[in-house]
Symmetry: C2
Subunit: 457 residues, 2 copies
């Protein structure tokens, strides 16, 4: 893979694994019945085969979409790191005795995938890791001086979901960021809780998503204080009562039918609440000693006495967040993502093969090389090398793929007598276009590309 | 976490989760019996609790060691990307019908963790993904024009290993890079094979590891050509016959007892072969149509006829490679890693609390800030804030932790009348030390830190 041409050729596979039509006649990876009930993100991901079903509720994520997922992971890493959380990696399999200690072996019922090893030991595929992290931390002689302790991971989780639905929105295998916190007492734990909540809000802000914070039911996890973060969407599976005036929201799960709050009760607000559907993106819990007691996670207090740590746990459904963002920002013919996590920031589209093709390709490659030299655009640019398609066809495809920006090098780009060479830069998300002189491209673009550093933490 | 002090304080947790002694009396996470049979890497990882056992053959990787693993992943990503391979993400669970189609459902026996879902469907936790990747690629109408197609992932794999041993060297859950290649025919597949082999050799070169390429037994995977990559180590589980003269090696598994080659037969070489133990790090296979035929992975040839793709598969045991590198480079009191993947490049050690402590801490923080501004050292430096320990104690610990470089700011660092402020920089791997003037630190270090970019591919 040395020549320029080879390099471009590999991009062909990278972006367009489906450049050839798929076997199923709909050409969309979904059959007609499925398309009728599919969500927008599911349709878009299937159309371009960014996501392919492996078994019900479980998907292969192809390279283009995986870039978005990994950028999102990097963003989450950054915000976890900024509050002093340490990234660790726990195994997926967890021995049953820990779950029996916590009481969840029976409680989790059919949601838990159970496995027996060759020695008839019972294990489960962990949907969440309170038991595992507690079994480790219990072996450390924690002192009050080493608290708060914040440990998280970003890994695949498993849940034998009876109602898997809408692709990445509700699957049986999914990517989750799970954070576990250990504090001295409730007062300290609440400080930690607020710090994490603040980090979550920064994540959603960086993604420019309108996320609703909702008081929630702690459910099977156990514990006291709990909030969910939802995004409003018709395909959401939770029903929320939202006050548009003050922004307060509750999940109706918390109320019996007769006691559902029709009007806001937040502060002095009495506005009528609106009923909306929400997709749950994240969940925060104060757990108290729900797990630290049965699993014996203690620390030495100032008085040198063993005390149970006061725990919290905090999840973000990372793969679901990616799909939900696409769900609310897109239509079924135009994919949009938060710009910071878009797989690539820019696609360069030279003229179709024919008159003046070579010249426009030359300019396209020149621009590509130049943008590869600039840190903010390096690795963020691809050339669409399907040269047998018109620029218009490829722009439509760029919209389906979710590119924020397209740079078109048409015949008109070439300098006329005494004129400058210009290209057209389209902001596909805003629906704007601008003709830009060749020598001004880098300064024009560097103000317009969104980047998220891929942090190693 | 705003103040400088808080920032440093979090590093305390990050590097030294075990600053307090662990509960078990050996203080090493291993009991006496275990220590007697443990490998060097296992002892080192346990001493500093970088690795903690969750169940036999399965470990929690703590944040410090995870940084090394993620750097190694980044290195592997880079070299896979450079040959045009696309990173994808496949689920861990794989439906039994695919494994029945390939014939491995029975063949894999007890090594396969098997799971039943709530609808009594049989699944397995995939130790390798030929079946899954084939089921996807079979749904694409591949043309000869879209070949070679190279797809890989870096994920946790599962094997119900009867002889789990030596921590990350042989576990039941482990991180593997698995690449699957699709070609038109054997000739093309051999070109791809050589390209991948070349990338593997570049990876080992970048890690400065002496790796032995061995003709191997294709085993349960099936197929024809196959090579293993081993590193020589007393704890290795394979026996190799190595010719020190020409470097050729074979795995004795390939031979019956009476036919074991005592002397080299490579080219005209007849040197006596040495028997060595090897840890297998990587494996490459040409598979032919072993999987593409039963799973129907075809492409349209130039003549527009459907033909089976000629496959290859290529694994690197990423977590094992990390442990094996530590195994061969270290002693049980001094951990060394390939410099490019060391979690941090430099630890700064200020004076112990007492006379002139504040002044040395001030210099330490100044140096830290300066190195954070330079791309090659940003994020690669920590201050050892266990200020109640002597510099000597902390240097011993820095050796146990595997830091390549230590920068000590002792009382002597402070400028005497008319003199320059100097610090001592220790190359802990080479056992060298150098006194360097404050204003020369950055230029001195930038030539000595090893970096691997964390690539997003």
């Amino acid at each position: 893979m040395n020549s320029k041409y080879e390099q471009i050729k590999t991009l062909h596979f990278k972006i367009f694994p489906n450049a050839v039509p798929s076997k199923d006649s709909a050409g969309a990876g979904l059959n007609q019945t499925e398309t009728a009930t599919a969500s927008v993100s599911q349709i878009l991901f299937s159309k371009k085969r960014l996501l392919e079903r492996c078994y019900p509720g479980s998907y292969i994520i192809n390279s283009y979409l995986l870039r978005a997922l990994r950028k999102l992971e990097g963003l989450v890493d950054f915000h976890m790191q900024s509050i002093g959380a340490q990234r660790i990696l726990m195994p997926s399999l967890s021995p049953s005795h820990l779950w029996k200690d916590s009481g969840r072996w029976d409680l989790m019922g059919k949601e838990l995938f159970r496995v027996e090893d060759r020695n008839d030991n019972q294990l489960c595929l962990a949907p969440t890791h309170e038991e595992t992290v507690c079994s480790m931390v219990a072996n450390h002689q924690l002192s009050y001086k080493s608290l708060p302790l914040l440990l998280y991971q970003i890994t695949g989780k498993f849940r034998d979901e009876p109602h898997q639905k809408h692709g990445l929105l509700r699957g049986r295998e999914f990517i989750m960021k799970d954070l576990y916190t250990f504090d001295e007492n409730e007062t300290q734990a609440k400080k930690t809780y607020n710090m994490v909540v603040n980090a979550y809000e920064n994540i959603f802000k960086e993604l420019s998503l309108n996320v609703i914070k909702v008081a929630a039911d702690p459910g099977a996890i156990g514990g006291s204080t709990s909030h969910e973060y939802h995004i409003e969407s018709a395909v959401g599976e939770d029903t929320l009562k939202l006050c548009d005036k003050c922004g307060d929201a509750v999940n109706i799960e918390l109320y019996t039918d007769v006691h559902q709050p029709k009007n806001c009760q937040y502060g002095s607000c009495t506005e009528k609440r609106r009923t909306v559907k929400g997709i749950e993106l994240a969940h925060t819990f104060l757990l108290g000693d729900r797990y630290s007691k049965p699993l014996n996670v203690t620390y030495r207090s100032k008085e040198n006495k063993p005390e149970y740590t006061y725990m919290g746990c905090y999840g973000i459904g990372v793969s679901r967040l990616l799909a939900a963002a696409v769900e609310v920002l897109s239509t079924s013919s135009h994919m949009k993502m938060p710009r910071v996590i878009s797989p690539y920031q820019l696609v360069i589209i030279p003229q179709k093969k024919g008159y003046k093709f070579e010249e426009t390709l030359h300019i396209a490659e020149q621009v590509y090389d130049e943008l590869e030299r600039i840190p903010s655009t390096r690795g963020e640019v691809v050339i669409d090398d399907r040269f047998n398609q018109s620029i218009g066809q490829r722009i439509r495809d760029a919209k389906l793929m979710g590119f924020p920006l397209a740079l078109c090098v048409s015949k008109q780009a070439l300098a006329s007598e005494g004129g400058d060479e210009t290209v057209e830069i389209l902001d596909l998300y805003e629906g704007e276009s601008q003709r830009v002189a060749l020598q001004e491209i880098t300064s024009y673009l560097s103000a317009r590309v969104a980047t998220v550093q891929h942090h190693l933490v």
